[in-house]
């Protein structure tokens, strides 16, 4: 039995109505995660992020790479999270452009190794594959550790007790990944996973600099090693 610990869970919803079923689904996953963690005495600090709050900043960020204070805050929350729940509505058979837009302007390394539970809501069960067909590819690019179970809910699911079972399964997977410290293992001791693209000053990387690299040796008057 390991010591109880504090886990930071970021719960990100790209829903825009209030209340939104997307936010509701994210909250159900989040609540289950907190309850499961509590069973072994772990405490969870939840950072709830309504992405619609960054809407005013998103056009400028997409057009000029200038991140406003709200987007910067989102990046910092994601970078600090031990686990993340991401929930999006499905529009036109794809995830909301609000979610994909935000992820496109944040640094590539913000979620490297971070356990992520993917969730989506839609008006029809025919969109059920949006998580597995579209979101997984995006999060694979970000090198996130996504849970095997994705959480999808269309109108009918809200009346189906089976949804609670899927919420439980997905939350358990997310907790297992968070407790396994997969992120720390992937990023390495210095917080910089060897080989993952990471930029100086990013929210995830901070100002850690690897001075022991071929490029750093070249910067300090050395030569590149022979082509291998």
């Amino acid at each position: 039995m390991t010591d109880p610990r504090i886990l930071r869970l970021a719960v990100v919803s790209a829903g825009v109505s209030d209340p939104s079923s997307t936010g509701l689904l994210a909250d159900r996953a989040s609540e289950r995660f907190v309850a499961l963690a509590a069973e072994t005495g772990d405490r969870v600090v939840v950072d709830r992020v309504e992405l619609k709050g960054v809407l005013p900043e998103l056009p400028a960020a997409l057009g000029s790479q200038l991140l406003g204070p709200r987007l910067t805050a989102v990046a910092e929350i994601l970078a600090a999270a031990d686990a993340v729940v991401v929930a999006t509505p499905v529009y036109k058979a794809g995830p909301s452009a609000l979610l994909t837009g935000v992820l496109q302007v944040l640094d590539d390394d913000v979620l490297v190794g971070t356990p992520v539970l993917l969730a989506a809501t839609a008006g029809t069960p025919r969109h059920a594959l949006v998580i597995d067909d579209q979101l997984r590819g995006l999060f694979a690019y970000l090198r996130a550790a996504t849970t095997p179970t994705g959480l999808f809910a269309s109108g009918d699911d809200w009346q189906d007790p089976a949804l609670a079972g899927r919420v439980d399964r997905a939350a358990r997977e997310l907790l297992a990944l968070a407790r396994s410290e997969v992120r720390e293992a992937m990023r390495g001791a210095a917080g910089r996973g060897a080989g993952y693209a990471s930029r100086f000053g990013s929210a995830a990387n901070g100002v850690a600099v690897d001075l022991d690299s071929d490029l750093m040796r070249l910067a300090t008057g050395g030569a590149l090693p022979p082509r291998g």
Binding site: A60, L66, P69, F200, G201, V209, M216, A219, G221
Partner: protein, 388 residues
């Protein structure tokens, strides 16, 4: 502390008049702006380097040599010289020649450039941009300091017994600034050689630049060039002035909204709140510029971007009047009063010559006679230690 202007040398349609200047007009304008900068008491004029329309400054040393001939005092510099696509041998030669013609009133800022297609135009590969920049500078640094260079690297043909001519003026290499926003390797190289580090300080919030400048200062000290305060830091910045604040905002807004880089993006107010841009009265620009020192520490050079986004040359000249007349004199006094002890002076050729020779004689290399083979060989100069 040096104050000056830096130009991207873009030829941009004036969004107010709808008129696009010709290349000839823009080149003339760049020269007028530079001459005016000296007239109003600025210290530095820097021009960019680009190899595609809508830019005109493909040959910065030609432009700067012309400006040198028309001016007496102002330091000519670049913003930036492409250390990636230019052969370091050509940079060594061209800028040493400029240094002679300008009697030392020059330095240069190295950058990687941001136009991907430029690389293949000059036979290079953008995927190798960073190592190319680092390797090229290692060579450039030697070419200005060693009369005869044997060199082998990955990205250009080896050199055997090569001498870059003319040797730098008074045997002192031109001062180099390394420009970078987020690349620690570039800051490390600047620190390793004890060169200057320049943050463009235009597009992003100050935090982006603070991190890398802090890293550069630490590494500068690590390599034994002096304390962190003695590291040599330059900053960009962007200002538009009018006697009163609202006139400045009204006049600049169409240029901001249509600017090639950030136009159609953030609002001017957001950009002013989140980046170093200041649009307003002289006092507002003074106040904002004084915050730079608080964010980054005492620094040596402040360059303002004043002539982009289609601003007509007459407007730019008025801007220079305000900048040189009302803003910079106050900044000089205020920054001088706040300056901590032990901060490095801004780099000048005269100071660098003093540093190398003290009051002693200054080297003036005289080549040995051509031996008929057009190869310089091992001892090209009469004062070379190796016998001919």
């Amino acid at each position: 502390m040096q104050f000056g202007i830096m130009s991207v040398s873009d030829v941009t349609r004036d969004p107010v008049s709808g008129r696009t200047p010709s290349e000839a007009e823009r080149i003339d304008a760049l020269v007028r702006i530079a001459v005016k900068a000296e007239e109003v008491g600025l210290d530095v004029v820097a021009v960019g380097e680009h190899h595609n329309p809508p830019f005109v400054s493909s040959s910065p040393t030609t432009l700067l040599a012309h400006i040198a001939a028309l001016t007496k005092r102002v330091i000519l510099s670049t913003s930036t010289t492409l250390i990636t696509t230019n052969d370091p041998v050509r940079i060594a030669e061209e800028y040493a020649m400029l240094q002679h013609l300008a009697k030392g009133r020059m330095d240069l800022m190295l950058g990687r450039g941001n136009t991907a297609p430029v690389y293949p135009w000059f036979g290079q590969d953008i995927r190798q941009g960073l190592p190319l920049a680092l390797e090229n500078y290692n060579l450039l640094h030697r070419l200005w300091r060693e009369d005869v260079v044997d060199w082998e690297g990955r990205y250009r043909t080896p050199l055997q017994g090569f001498t870059s001519t003319p040797r730098p003026l008074d045997g002192v290499a031109p001062f180099v600034w390394h420009g970078s926003i987020r690349t620690p390797e570039i800051a490390e190289q600047a620190a390793f050689y004890g060169d200057g580090f320049f943050a463009n300080h235009i597009f992003w919030p100050k935090e982006h630049y603070q991190r890398l400048i802090a890293f550069y200062r630490q590494r500068f000290e690590h390599y034994g060039h002096g304390t962190q305060k003695e590291a040599i830091v330059g900053l960009g910045g962007q200002a538009f002035l009018a006697k009163n604040s609202q006139d400045a905002k009204n006049a600049f807004r169409p240029y901001f909204d249509n600017a090639p880089v950030y136009g159609n993006g953030p609002s001017m107010e957001d950009f002013m709140a989140q980046t170093p841009l200041s649009v307003g009265s002289p006092q507002e620009v003074i106040d904002k510029t004084l915050t730079f020192r608080e964010h980054f520490g005492d620094y040596q050079r402040q360059l303002f971007l004043v002539d982009h986004a289609g601003l007509p040359v007459e407007t730019v000249l008025e801007q220079l009047e305000l900048l040189g007349g009302e803003v910079v004199p106050v900044l000089r006094t205020e920054l001088e009063a706040r300056r901590e002890e032990g901060v490095a002076e801004a780099p000048t050729h005269a100071a660098r010559v003093r540093e190398v020779y003290g009051d002693g004689p200054v080297r003036q290399p005289r080549p040995n006679a051509n031996r008929g083979d057009n190869v310089t060989g091992g001892s090209p100069y009469q004062d070379s230690e190796v016998a001919a």
